[in-house]
Point group: C3
Chain length 403, copies 3
């Protein structure tokens, strides 16, 4: 998989910080009990997720009416964001810009990897510090693993020297981490498995569903999640599975072609098992699981695209000749699923391999377009959290007479 590694010279001064254990790093990225930079999926604990979910729910509710929508744009109009996306990503980019615009944040962008400053041999860290001179948050996507992490350490160093410092958001760093994708996926899962409990106006869908599924509970706990497709190369799958493993009684199932480039790697398996999750692998969506049809037991299905653009000259021929039909989510397979089980996909889907046919789009369980829109709300909520504007949000909601 194409991931640039850090030029050791360029990031050498951060090596001691990079070498610390993950929990020490996560602590360094906090600020008075809240996230200060968003770098790792490991920062998304159930507590943090619950906080951000509550913020996102308020933002989406306020966005619905003109008056409260206007009020949202008064939350952060004094903030200017830099979207530094040297690795192309239309979807994540647009989702962040929309999130910014909802809150009145002004967007700026640098997307060309061959910007003029690189020609002039400016160091990457100088470029980032330049951005922090002009802007109030840096949202960055890069092919270079750990680049965003180093930037957050530089900002913390500057803060200790009482110099200008701004929050950093990792919007995807090589094959490494993509924490805001895990955030939006979890926001979608939390909302789906709420079964309208938090909406007092609606009668509980849960009561109805429990007649058929007596053990169903309104949380991510005690659920069976099935990941399908490109397991090994999908950093999305890796991040989300790791976050889900924090919940209790979770079963994490993985269906992929039996090829080492695609199937679950032993590292991730071990990490998930250590966290207490039950882990199983499958070679087809049509297999059985504990003596019953796999697909009928799934509470949440997360399917993905085979990332052909990451094929290497070594594995390309083999991968292109694989039979992918056992992993295609045909309407027939969807028909066997539980009636509440969300169908998720990080998108884009492959219109030629067709792992998720358009015929499924009209199914009420199809969550993938709503999932994309959830990304916008979840990212807006993250900005409100990072900028410590949660109290302002609550005040704004009260001002416009909601609740």
């Amino acid at each position: 998989m194409t991931t640039l590694t850090i030029d050791p010279g360029e990031f050498a001064s951060f090596q001691p910080q990079l070498d610390r254990p993950l929990d020490a790093k996560v602590r360094e990225l906090q600020h008075q009990g809240r996230l200060h930079h968003m770098i790792f999926g490991a920062q998304l604990t159930p507590e943090v997720l619950e906080k951000i979910r509550a913020i996102a729910d308020i933002i989406r509710a306020m966005a619905r009416q003109r008056k409260s929508n206007d009020r949202l744009r008064q939350l952060l109009p004094h903030k200017r964001a830099m979207l530094y996306f040297t690795q192309p990503s239309t979807r994540t980019f647009l989702s962040f810009t929309a999130a910014c615009q909802i809150l009145g944040v002004t967007c700026n962008e640098v997307r060309d990897p061959k910007s003029s400053s690189e020609v002039k041999r400016e160091s990457r860290m100088d470029s980032i510090r330049m951005f922090s001179s002009y802007f109030d948050v840096i949202i960055m996507r890069s092919e270079i693993a750990k680049f965003a992490e180093c930037c957050s350490y530089m900002m913390n160093d500057l803060e200790r020297q009482e110099m200008r410092s701004v929050p950093v958001i990792n919007a995807g760093s090589g094959s490494d981490e993509h924490p805001t994708q895990a955030l939006l996926d979890m926001y979608t899962i939390l909302r789906t498995f709420d079964f309208d409990q938090s909406d007092k106006a609606k009668s509980s869908r849960l009561t109805v569903l429990r007649e058929k599924y007596p053990d169903l509970e309104p949380s991510p706990n005690n659920k069976t999640y099935l990941f399908c497709g490109d397991i090994h190369r999908g950093r999305t799958v890796r991040s989300l599975a790791t976050v889900l493993a924090q919940y209790s009684g979770v079963k994490l199932l993985f269906a992929s072609p039996d090829h080492e480039t695609l199937r679950l790697d032993s590292d991730l398996r071990e990490r998930l098992t250590d966290a207490g999750a039950e882990v199983r692998e499958f070679n087809s969506l049509d297999e059985d699981y504990d003596g019953q049809s796999l697909i009928s037991q799934v509470d949440c299905l997360y399917t993905t695209r085979i990332q052909r653009e990451h094929n290497t000259s070594d594995d390309s021929d083999e991968l292109e000749s694989l039979d992918l039909s056992p992993f295609q989510l045909t309407p027939e397979r969807v028909a066997s699923m539980k009636e509440f089980a969300p169908i998720m996909h990080p998108f884009p889907r492959d219109s030629i391999v067709n792992e998720l046919p358009v015929e499924v789009d009209a199914d009420p369980r199809a969550m993938y377009f709503r999932q994309a829109r959830n990304g916008m709300w979840a990212r807006a909520a993250l900005l409100v959290h990072l900028f410590d504007a949660v109290d302002s949000l609550y005040m704004a909601r009260d001002e416009v007479g909601m609740r």
Copy 2:
């Protein structure tokens, strides 16, 4: 002419909708008596044009004073636009962004035809639906004929399924349609042929002009329009002529080199004649028309650039060797024109062929720079109309004490 055709597989599901007669399509694009999507020039009836002209006049008047200008930006600040321009067009793009900004609409753009999602084999319709997840209107320019049309049908299908749906504006689709260019041209013509009638503060220019031109009336009716240059390949000419043919007593004259790539095609001629217009062709601006000098009888001259970039290997040599001097709007030819007759050009003009010399720029009849600025007002008016914000606009005008 380079126009990509639709991949039949990709748009197959829209074929029944594409195959309907034009008037059925036009009806589908309406919404409670107003335009819901802007796709075809045929949607621009005199009634619609009159509505949009009235809106545009209010916007331009309000933009003049700081207080009312500020009030305009409060009309649609809750709307986010996606400008999806995979076919380059600086002028149309900037005109739309300026129009959005006048109304407070936030602009977002995708302009690179090789975006990351295409590499990942996302279907075009998935890309468009993704945009509709984040944004509130899609303004699109594409080399693919009928792409915008299919998008509007998809949005209507989603609306029928009670799913998120947004308006689509065609900002140019291949050689097919460019309805907002016709809109701004008609706005310019309506304003010019108003002769200050609607401006009660000014004494009527019409009274003065009628001393010399007794039959002159303040409308597009009973006028002689001369189109000059690249008639066959200019979708601008095609659209505007079709719209003008709806008015009564209209003469549509066409002057172009006698080459089938450039001159009026029989399809358009038939359509215009069927609509009741008198149609004539000329091989030079210096010919006579009904026994008198052609150019001295013209009420409105619309000249265009020869679109060399659409020359094919077959016709390029012939086209490059044509004598274009009989179509050049020299100051001498301008001197023979009626004193009120506007000189229009969709721009850009060709600085080498020089079909419209800079010497004409200072002539009071030269409308082409004002025409460009009119595009901004007309497109802003279209947005107000599509977003059903006309009543809000009238209220805003009253609030700031205008009228």
Copy 3:
């Protein structure tokens, strides 16, 4: 040095205006006692600099608090800017966009030198006039010397014809001029050499410093400035030195490798001497000046990157083999400097040549990151000045209860 020259045909009509003496040109760019276009460094007189500095100080103070920050964005929200940057420049571009955003100005950009209109053979002047149809100020950076200058003359011509006309800002034109870089450098120098005099809340740093440096005065007068690095090709150095030479008792020293591509040219030397400055050249930072260590006598050090991208095939080998170590600002050299002397650099710095090592960044005299941020304030101030919004700024300040 790669500077495109003007196509004589394209700009021929401006030749008489281009041929005038500089002071006549500078007068033409004024408007009722203030700058109307910003084209030349020569427009930055001490009086103009003092005005812009006062505006910038108010803007930066107002930006600090949420309420006054919000008020700033109400100054110019009715203005739309075009950033026409056909020569790439990330830093200057972002600095201008941030400046616009602080004041509520909406930004638009054209950055691709091969825009669609050039393919269609639109003249450059038509493109600029098109921008002026949609936008309210044109901020332009181009490889073409004198292009911005011609644009300002076109705008003045249009104004005389009572047609739409907007201000033009030169954000770098070939090797020619980069006046807003000189502006931000001077803003930094004026602030540094104020020694907190204008901040009544603070006790005067000047009193303390005078114990050690008895002749120190709070102004750019009677100071020793040392420029280091790429003297000949750095338009930044040329512009700033010219501006500084207007102050009294100024010594301008230049340290560069003894190579004609890099060292002070006789033209500039003559201009500076004529203006009354003492000028000296050095081949190393370690030389003596008037019998004492050069570096210990410097009041302000301005170091620069060797602009390798402008090496020609003729001089490249020679330039690459030069020993640059005598010009590197090592911590040891910094240790010999006066304790108040600012270290400036226009950035980017070269991370390989390392003329300004990162070890210096934490030194309190290191001004280069603050200098970058000053660019944002100074450019915002320039916009307020050009748009004649200084009175509005003072009113806004009073409204929010500052001063």
